[in-house]
C-alpha cells in the first residue's frame, strides 16, 4: 500500500485542483473548503508516508514506478528503469512533510487574507501537487516537468491580485524562471546524450561507469561537466542565487500576502532541493574529486557567497518589508548552496560532508518555516494596521504585541540566535565549512550572522523603540489584538489593506514562532532524520537508503 503513497500525494492535489472550478459552476466560494479538505487528506497521506519511511529501522526507500514496472530493472540493478520512478526516501520524506504542513497552514491565512475566488484555490492545489512531484520524483526529465508546473502556477498566483505591479512581476518571473528551467533541461539533455538514461539512479551509475557498455567513469567528460554547469545555473535561478535572483524580490513583493507566504516557504526551497539532490546523488562527490572538476564547484560557492553578502546588504537597504525579506531569502539560499557544495567538495573529509548535509537539510526546513512565518507575520501586520514599510512599523509593538513578538523571535531565528532551528542550521553549515578549511567561505558563513543582524535589528528597533512617525497618522486607529471586525466579513470581498486581520493569521504567525523555538531543541531528531542522506553522500551512493 505504501508504494502507492508517492503517486497519491501528487495526484490528489492535481485532481483536487479541478474541483474548485468544477463545483464553482454550481456554488460560489467553495474554493477554500475544498482546498482545506484536500490538503487535510494530503497532510494525512504525507504523515503516513513519513511514518512508512522513518517507521522502521533506519529509513526506508519507497519506490513507485508510474504505470507499473513492466520491464526494466525489476529488482536487478544492472538494467535501466523504463518509466518514471517516484522515490520517497529520507530526503524527500522530510520535504513532503514540510510542503503538506505549509500548504495546510497557509490556508489559515488565506481564509480572510485572500485572494478570493475558486480559480485561486485551483492554482493553489495545482502548485501543491507540482511541489510534491518536484520533491518526490526520481527522474531528471520529470523533475523538469514539475519545475515547470510549479513555475507556471506560481506565475499565475503571483499575478492573482490583477494589478499592474503584480502582472509585471509575474512576467519577469515567467521570463527568468522559464530561462532557468530551459538551461536545466539543456543540462539534462547533455546527460541523456552521454548516458542514455534519465532516471537519477541510472544516470549516476552510468556516470560512475558501472554498466558494462560504458567504458569507465565519465567524470572527465567535458559534456558531463557542461551538463553540471547548465543544471547548476538553471537550478540556482530557481533558488534565486545572486545574480540570478532578480525575479524574486518583485515576485514576493507584488504577490498577495498568502501567496508570498506559500512561495517563500516552498518554491525556492524546491529549487535548492533539486540542486542538492542532483549534486549529491547524481553527480556525487566522486565527480568533483576528478581533475579540475572542483573548480566549477568553487565557482558556484563564490556566487553563493556573493549571494549571502549582497542579499543581506540589499535587504538592509529596502524600505518595504516584503522586499526586505525577499532579499533575505537570497542571502539564506546562498548559505544553503554553500552547504550543498561544501558537502561534496574534495577538500572536506567525511566529517565535513556529514555536517554540511545536516546543515543543508535543517536549514532548508528551518528556512521554510522561519521565512514563511516571517511573511505571515508581515502580512498579518499589514492586514491589521496597513503598515507595509519599515518606517510605518514605528511603535507597532504596543498595538500588536503578539505579532511583534513573533516577528522578533522569527527575526532572531534567521539571524541564528539559539535556541532556534535557525541556529541549528547555521551551526552545522558553519562547522561543515570549517572542516574543509576553505577560509573565505568560512568567514562568509560566520559573518552572515552580522549581515543578517543588519536588517533584523533595524526592524526590531523600529518596532519596539520608536514612537509613531510624526505627521504620518496611523493607517488605522488603535484597536485590540484580534480581527478588526468590519461587518459582514464572510461574504464580502475584502481588498488588501487594513482591518482584515484574522485570528487565523495571528495563530499562524505565533505558531511559526513557537515551532521555531521548539525545533531548536530537536537537534538530535533532525540529525537522525538526515543521517541516511549524509551516509549516501559520504559513500557517493546514488540512492538514499537505510543508513545506520
Amino acid at each position: 500500500m505504501s508504494e502507492l503513497l508517492p503517486a497519491l500525494l501528487i495526484v490528489l492535489p492535481i485532481v483536487g485542483a479541478t474541483l474548485p472550478l468544477g463545483v464553482g459552476l454550481l456554488r460560489e466560494n467553495v474554493g477554500w473548503s475544498i482546498a482545506a479538505l484536500v490538503l487535510s487528506v494530503e497532510a494525512g497521506l504525507a504523515a503516513w508516508l513519513a511514518a512508512a519511511v522513518y517507521g522502521g529501522e533506519g529509513a526506508a526507500r519507497i519506490v513507485h514506478v508510474l504505470g507499473g514496472e513492466t520491464f526494466g530493472r525489476r529488482g536487478a540493478t544492472e538494467n535501466f528503469v523504463v518509466g518514471i520512478e517516484l522515490v520517497a526516501d529520507a530526503f524527500s520524506g522530510l520535504m513532503v512533510l514540510l510542503v503538506a504542513g505549509v500548504a495546510l497552514a497557509v490556508l489559515a491565512f488565506a481564509r480572510r487574507g485572500g485572494p478570493r475566488g475558486n480559480a485561486f484555490y485551483s492554482g493553489y492545489l495545482l502548485l501543491t501537487g507540482g511541489l510534491m512531484g518536484l520533491f518526490l520524483t526520481g527522474d531528471l526529465f520529470n523533475l523538469f516537468v514539475f519545475l515547470e508546473i510549479v513555475g507556471l502556477t506560481t506565475y499565475g498566483l503571483v499575478a492573482s491580485d490583477r494589478d499592474a505591479e503584480s502582472a509585471v512581476a509575474a512576467l519577469k518571473y515567467l521570463v527568468i524562471g522559464t530561462t532557468g528551467a530551459s538551461l536545466y533541461l539543456l543540462g539534462v539533455g547533455y546527460l541523456f546524450l552521454r548516458t542514455g538514461a534519465l532516471n537519477m539512479v541510472d544516470v549516476s551509475r552510468s556516470l560512475a561507469g558501472e554498466p558494462e557498455w560504458i567504458d569507465g567513469a565519465l567524470y572527465g567528460d567535458p559534456l558531463v561537466l557542461a551538463a553540471f554547469g547548465f543544471i547548476a545555473v538553471g537550478l540556482m535561478t530557481k533558488a534565486a542565487i545572486y545574480p540570478l535572483h532578480t525575479w524574486q524580490p518583485d515576485a514576493y513583493a507584488a504577490a498577495p500576502d498568502a501567496v508570498t507566504v506559500y512561495i517563500s516557504a516552498l518554491v525556492s526551497t524546491g529549487g535548492a532541493y533539486a540542486f542538492a539532490r542532483v549534486t549529491w546523488t547524481v553527480f556525487t562527490s566522486e565527480f568533483f574529486a576528478v581533475g579540475q572538476n572542483a573548480r566549477i564547484l568553487e565557482l558556484v560557492i563564490v556566487l553563493a557567497c556573493l549571494s549571502v553578502v549582497l542579499g543581506s546588504g540589499l535587504a538592509a537597504m529596502q524600505r518595504r518589508l516584503k522586499r526586505l525579506f525577499a532579499y533575505s531569502s537570497v542571502s539564506q539560499f546562498g548559505l544553503i548552496v554553500i552547504g550543498v557544495c561544501v558537502a561534496v567538495h574534495p577538500a572536506g573529509g567525511t566529517q565535513a560532508t556529514r555536517l554540511a548535509v545536516y546543515g543543508v537539510v535543517i536549514h532548508l526546513l528551518g528556512h521554510g518555516l522561519v521565512k514563511g512565518g516571517l511573511f505571515a507575520t508581515v502580512g498579518a501586520l499589514a492586514h491589521g494596521t496597513g503598515a507595509r514599510r519599515v518606517r510605518e512599523y514605528a511603535g507597532l509593538a504596543k498595538r500588536r504585541p503578539f505579532l511583534s513578538g513573533s516577528l522578533a523571535v522569527l527575526g532572531l531565528a534567521i539571524v541564528g540566535v539559539p535556541p532556534t532551528i535557525g541556529f541549528l542550521g547555521k551551526w552545522y553549515l558553519a562547522v561543515g565549512a570549517l572542516n574543509t578549511r576553505l577560509w573565505p567561505v568560512i568567514f562568509v558563513v560566520f559573518a552572515s550572522t552580522l549581515l543578517t543582524l543588519l536588517y533584523v535589528a533595524r526592524l526590531l528597533e523600529k518596532l519596539y523603540f520608536d514612537g509613531p512617525a510624526e505627521g504620518a497618522a496611523p493607517a488605522a486607529g488603535p484597536e485590540p489584538e484580534g480581527p478588526g471586525a468590519p461587518g459582514g466579513a464572510d461574504g464580502a470581498v475584502i481588498t488588501d489593506g487594513a482591518g482584515s486581520l484574522s485570528y487565523g493569521m495571528i495563530a499562524l504567525a505565533v505558531s511559526a514562532a513557537v515551532l521555531t523555538v521548539l525545533l531548536g531543541f530537536a537537534g538530535s531528531a533532525l540529525t537522525d532524520a538526515a543521517q541516511p542522506i549524509a551516509q549516501a553522500v559520504i559513500e557517493a551512493a546514488p540512492e538514499v537508503s537505510a543508513g545506520g
Binding site: V417, V431, L434, F446, E461, F465, G523
Partner: protein
C-alpha cells in the same frame, strides 16, 4: 578531593525561575506592586536555589542537568554536543554573585523606576528577569555551545534595557550594543566554538575535556581558537579595542548599568574568559601557546588606558563605565597571567585566585558606586561631576558609601578590592612578570586620581566655592599656556572659565557628547544649567544644586527613599566584609576549590 556528579534539576530551576517570572511580570503589568513582588520573589528564589547547591559544591559534588532528563528528549543539542547545565565551583561563583546581588537590585530598581516615573516599566522588569536567567545559564553551562546559547540570549535580553529610553541617544546606544555583542557572540565566540569542535576528536566542547586534543592540534589553529574565544568574550568584558559599547550603554537606567553593566553582563564576558583559560585550554596549554601573555598584555593596556580616559569623563556614569572597563581587565589580567605562571611553574594558583576574586570584589564595589550615582540622579537629577561639589551635605550616607567603595577600587586595605589585587601582585611577581605588578600599582594611583576628586568635592567643597577641574574642563594635553598638567586633578588652572567647546572637539573625542555641557559651564553659577544633550528632556529637570546651594540632610537617611538607600548600604557593607574577613565570606573558599581543581 573526590569529585562526583549527581543528576539534579536544580541548575535548570535556577535558570528558569526568573524566566517564569517574566510571564508573571507581564501578566500583572497593570498592578505595579504585584509586578515588583514577582521580581523580588524570583530573585530570592533564585538565590535560594543557587545557595542550596553551595554546600555540595564546596564538598566536591557537581549538580548536572541535561536535556535528556526531560522525558522524550534526547540530550544531544547539536551533533556530539549535549545541552547540559552543571553547577561546578566556577559556575557557582558567578551564579551566587549574580543572584545575590539581584535581590538588592530588585528593591533598588523598584525605587529607581518609580522615583523617576519611567515609562515601559513592565518591559524593563521583564527584560531584567530575562537577563538574569541568561546570566545563570552562562554560569552553569557545561560546554561552549551551551554557554553560547545563553551568551546570545543575554545579548538579546539586555538590548531592550539599553534602548529603554527610546530617545535617539538610547537607540544609537542600543544599535551599538547589538552590533558589538553580536560581533562578539554570533561571530567570534561561535567561530571559536566551532573551531574547538572541529579540532577535537571526537568532537566535543565540554569544559575540561578539550585541552588534550587542542594541545595536539595545529598550534596556529589552536591559537586562533583561543584568540576568537578570548576576543569574543572580551567584547562583553570590555577589553579594548572592543569596549566602546559599554560607556554608551550608560544611557540605560542606572539599575541596568549597575547590575548588568557592572556585574552580570560584563562579568559573563570575564567569566567566559575564565572558562576558556581554565577549562577549555587549561593554564599549561595557554602558557605553551604563548597566548596568555598576549591576553595579559591587552588587559594591561586596557586597564591603564581606560583609567586615563576615566580621568576626563565629567558625567559620573561615564566615568564609572570606564572604571568598569579598567577593573574588568584586572580579572582578565589575572587569568591571562595564569599562562606565563604555569610556564614559570609558580604563582599560577595565586594569579587565578586574584583574578577570580576580583569578580565578586569588583561587583560589590561597582554596584555600590552605580547605585550611588543612580540615587543622586533620582534625588537631585545631577549627572555631572562638576555639579556635585558639596553634595555630601545633601546626601551624606550615599557619598560615604561612595567613598568606601571608591577606596576599595583603588585597592586600599580593608575593602574588597585590596585582597584580590594583593593576590595578583604577588602572583605576577612569582610568575616572573613583575612588569604587570607595576601596571597594577600605577592603575591604583590612577584610580585614586579619578575617584578622589569626586569624594573631595562632595565633602570638602561647596558649589559656590569649588576649585576648577582642569582635567575635565581643558583640552587634552593642556592649553598652550600650559595651565593644566595631567595627573594633578587639584591643580588650579589660570583662566578658570571653560574654553569654547569647539576647540577641543577634535582633541577630546570622549568628551564629544558632553560638548554642549562645556558651552553652558559659564552659566552654571546661575544654578540652572540645561544640558543640550540631556536624555531626559521630557522630565524637565535641571542638574546641580538648587539656587540656595545644597540643603543639609542628616545622617539618618533623610536623603531619600530607603528602597534605594538600603541596598546601597547593604552592598557596601558586603564589600567591606569581603575585604576584612575574605575567608569567612564564601567566595574565596569557592575560588580555592576552583584553583585547586584547575591547577593541582
Amino acid at each position: 578531593m573526590v569529585e562526583h556528579v549527581v543528576d539534579s534539576w536544580r541548575p535548570l530551576a535556577a535558570v528558569l525561575i526568573s524566566a517564569v517570572a517574566i510571564a508573571l511580570i507581564v501578566a500583572s503589568h497593570r498592578r505595579p506592586n504585584v509586578r515588583e513582588a514577582w521580581s523580588v520573589l524570583a530573585s530570592v528564589g533564585k538565590f535560594a536555589i543557587v545557595a542550596s547547591m553551595l554546600p555540595g559544591v564546596l564538598d566536591g559534588t557537581e549538580y548536572r542537568w541535561s536535556l535528556g532528563m526531560v522525558p522524550g528528549l534526547d540530550s544531544e543539542f547539536v551533533f556530539g554536543v549535549e545541552f547540559a547545565l552543571r553547577a561546578d565551583a566556577l559556575g557557582m561563583l558567578f551564579a551566587l554573585l549574580a543572584s545575590f546581588l539581584w535581590i538588592f537590585t530588585a528593591f533598588y530598581s523598584a525605587g529607581y523606576m518609580r522615583g523617576l516615573d519611567e515609562p515601559n516599566q513592565t518591559r524593563f522588569f521583564a527584560s531584567f528577569a530575562a537577563s538574569l536567567s541568561a546570566a545563570i545559564g552562562i554560569a552553569f553551562a557545561e560546554n561552549l555551545v551551551t554557554i553560547f546559547v545563553f551568551y546570545e540570549l543575554l545579548s538579546v535580553a539586555t538590548y531592550p534595557l539599553v534602548a529603554h529610553d527610546e530617545t535617539n541617544e538610547a537607540r544609537a546606544a542600543g544599535r551599538k550594543y547589538l552590533a558589538y555583542t553580536f560581533f562578539g557572540g554570533g561571530f567570534l565566540v561561535l567561530a571559536g566554538t566551532a573551531l574547538v569542535f572541529v579540532l577535537t576528536e571526537p568532537s566535543t566542547t565540554t569544559f575540561g575535556a578539550t585541552a588534550a586534543d587542542l594541545a595536539e592540534a595545529d598550534p596556529a589553529l589552536a591559537r586562533a581558537a583561543f584568540g576568537l574565544l578570548a576576543a569574543g568574550f572580551g567584547v562583553k568584558a570590555g577589553l579594548m579595542p572592543l569596549h566602546s559599547w559599554l560607556p554608551d550603554a550608560m544611557v540605560a537606567p542606572t539599575p541596568v548599568s549597575g547590575l548588568l553593566h557592572a556585574v552580570a553582563v560584563v562579568k559573563s564576558g570575564a567569566f567566559g574568559v575564565a572558562r576558556v583559560v581554565l577549562e577549555v585550554f587549561e593554564p599549561d596549554l595557554v602558557g605553551d601557546l604563548g597566548v596568555g601573555l598576549a591576553l595579559a598584555a591587552v588587559a594591561a593596556f586596557t586597564l591603564t588606558a581606560a583609567s586615563i580616559i576615566a580621568l576626563r569623563a565629567d558625567r559620573l556614569k561615564r566615568r564609572l563605565a570606564f572604571s568598569t572597563v579598567s577593573q574588568l581587565s584586572y580579572i582578565v589580567l589575572g587569568l591571562g597571567l595564569a599562562g606565563p605562571a604555569a610556564v614559570a611553574g609558580s604563582g599560577t594558583k595565586t594569579v587565578i585566585i586574584g583574578g577570580l576574586l576580583h569578580i565578586p570584589a569588583h561587583a560589590f564595589m561597582k554596584l555600590t558606586l552605580f547605585f550611588c550615582a543612580g540615587f543622586i540622579h533620582v534625588e537631585t537629577h545631577t549627572d555631572y561631576i562638576s555639579e556635585m561639589d558639596g553634595i555630601g551635605k545633601r546626601m551624606p550616607l550615599t557619598m560615604a558609601a561612595f567613598a568606601v567603595a571608591a577606596a576599595g577600587m583603588a585597592g586600599i586595605p580593608l575593602v574588597a578590592g585590596f585582597v584580590s589585587k594583593w593576590f595578583m601582585l604577588i602572583g605576577a611577581v612569582e610568575a616572573n612578570q613583575a612588569i604587570f605588578a607595576v601596571v597594577l600599582l600605577i592603575s591604583g594611583v590612577l584610580n585614586i586620581a579619578y575617584f578622589w576628586p569626586i569624594v573631595y568635592g562632595a565633602f570638602f567643597e561647596s558649589h559656590d566655592d569649588a576649585d576648577s577641574k582642569p582635567l575635565v574642563e581643558f583640552p587634552l594635553g593642556g592649553r598652550a599656556s600650559g595651565g593644566a598638567s595631567a595627573g594633578e586633578p587639584e591643580a588650579v588652572a589660570d583662566g578658570g572659565a571653560a574654553d569654547d567647546a569647539h576647540d577641543d572637539d577634535a582633541a577630546a573625542t570622549d568628551e564629544h557628547q558632553e560638548g554642549g555641557h562645556h558651552d553652558t559651564a559659564d552659566h552654571e553659577h546661575a544654578g540652572h544649567a540645561v544640558h543640550s544633550d540631556d536624555q531626559h528632556e521630557d522630565h524637565d529637570h535641571h542638574g546641580g544644586p538648587p539656587p540656595g546651594g545644597w540643603e543639609r540632610a542628616g545622617w539618618t537617611g533623610a536623603e531619600g527613599s530607603w528602597l534605594m538607600l538600603g541596598p546601597i548600604l547593604a552592598i557596601v557593607a558586603g564589600a567591606v566584609v569581603l575585604g576584612v574577613v575574605p575567608y569567612q565570606a564564601v567566595f574565596l573558599e569557592l575560588i580555592e576549590v576552583i584553583a585547586g581543581g584547575g591547577v593541582g
